[in-house]
Symmetry: C2
Subunit: 267 residues, 2 copies
């Protein structure tokens, strides 16, 4: 474990990424469940902030419960929830390029409004036909909403696979238009998490395995960022960041050691 | 017809784009065949330079013949021919993400070399599975070769559809690597065309419907560029170019009027 910046402010809340930090595929990462339990015992408020768009909110909560981790509905923040709020605010109807499992998170929205194209990690549903329909809608004026810009994720076979970001980049290139980013590392996403904890951010720590979306995004939003060497982490991921992570930890368990030192010392 | 820059140098050879200039789908554009015939009568050497990667060289020549236009093999320049030469020069084996019709242009190459990922306009063959395999190869060190970076093309239904460029952009974003571009507007592509006409470029005119790949690319390579208002052309396409087209013509027929004025006046 490496404490890079040596920040000494008290920690009053923690944001945790899920995939690659708490679990990979459908298996908890060693020590992760007890690490979360230690945060709960210390009564640190938690938010689980995920860019995963292959599962609905309902499924994410059920998956975690099946793995032995109970979280409440208001502890979970997903890009789909933000997209839903965006559509309602701007009176838009969704044209979805997302995984079938995510569709339920967009149920019941008004139809007949101007359309917004919504890109998630659609996996095998990224077909030419669907992307081409999305492209034509964008050229006709539809807003392009990116649930995430992640380049890749650690797939069930242990290898990196293409996430939503590359397909958003494809549509941006084709249309010469810029997507509105809703997930990490957008400032709006972190602001929502920070506000939901009644904080201004400087007493919060974000833990993630994605150097850009998790760590750099959180630091840009005024939080501290801890990078874990699990999940998609590859040696040197941190070297290209504009600011160094506050801590680089071998796992969530080690990250929690670091967090609790900075919490307990101020109680 | 609008002569923008008023260049007065003699024209000694012509490069013609095919899709959107000579034909759309499988139908010649009105006046295009007789316009080519007028260039032939004026004994102007011609090269047909296409970024189309949905048809093999053999098929392109057969398609043109079926439409009533005979061209010889050495008059046709395609990105696939350049890719083949690149693979042979660098001793690479191809991993193809291309339309099934294009595969024959890569037949007979040595296997077992390090791989290069080759992206053409694969249409419905742009599947997540294929793009993901390509991505993994690039992360393992394979070179990324783009047969073209075109954003779109005018499809058989008259609408714009996604071309190869967006999918190259997707893999560039995912891998943080830059593709080697083989088709228009790469300088190498135009240099090959210019050399095959025994010219240094300043006496050649390129005619195309793609403001960036055809007109801007040709001007950057030292040729004159004529933009035609057929095919994928949309009003204002020329406004974002770094240098104005030498001529904007309603069709190939009008473009040939402009060319012949600049040819005959120096004979």
């Amino acid at each position: 474990m490496q404490n890079v910046s040596g920040s000494s402010a008290p920690v009053r809340g923690v944001l945790l990424d899920l995939g690659g930090v708490v679990y990979v595929g459908d298996t908890p990462i060693g020590g992760a469940l007890s690490a979360v339990a230690r945060l709960r015992e210390a009564e640190l408020p938690l938010r689980f902030v995920t860019n995963t768009t292959r599962r609905s909110r309902r499924q994410v909560i059920a998956d975690l419960q099946r793995m032995g981790l109970r979280i409440s509905d208001d502890e979970l923040l997903t890009p789909a929830s933000m997209a839903r709020a965006f559509l309602q605010k701007h009176q838009l109807s969704p044209f979805l390029v997302v995984h079938p499992e995510l569709v339920e998170d967009f149920a019941g929205l008004a139809s007949g409004h101007p359309e917004a194209v919504i890109i998630g990690d659609a996996g095998d549903c990224f077909t030419y036909e669907r992307l081409n329909r999305a492209y034509r809608k964008i050229t006709e004026g539809a807003v392009l909403l990116a649930l995430a810009m992640n380049r890749n994720f650690k797939d069930a076979d242990g290898e990196l696979s293409l996430d939503a970001g590359p397909f958003v980049a494809a549509l941006e290139y084709a249309s010469k238009r810029k997507a509105v980013l809703l997930g990490k590392p957008s400032a709006e996403f972190y602001q929502l998490a920070v506000a939901s904890l009644g904080s201004n951010g400087d007493d919060l720590v974000m833990v993630g395995d994605d150097a850009e979306a998790d760590v750099s995004g959180a630091i840009s939003a005024g939080l501290r960022g801890v990078l874990v060497r699990t999940g998609k982490y590859r040696a040197g991921d941190e070297s290209a960041l504009p600011s160094a992570p506050d801590c680089i930890a071998d796992s969530l368990n080690n990250a929690v050691d670091w967090i609790l030192q900075r919490h307990q010392s101020f109680e």
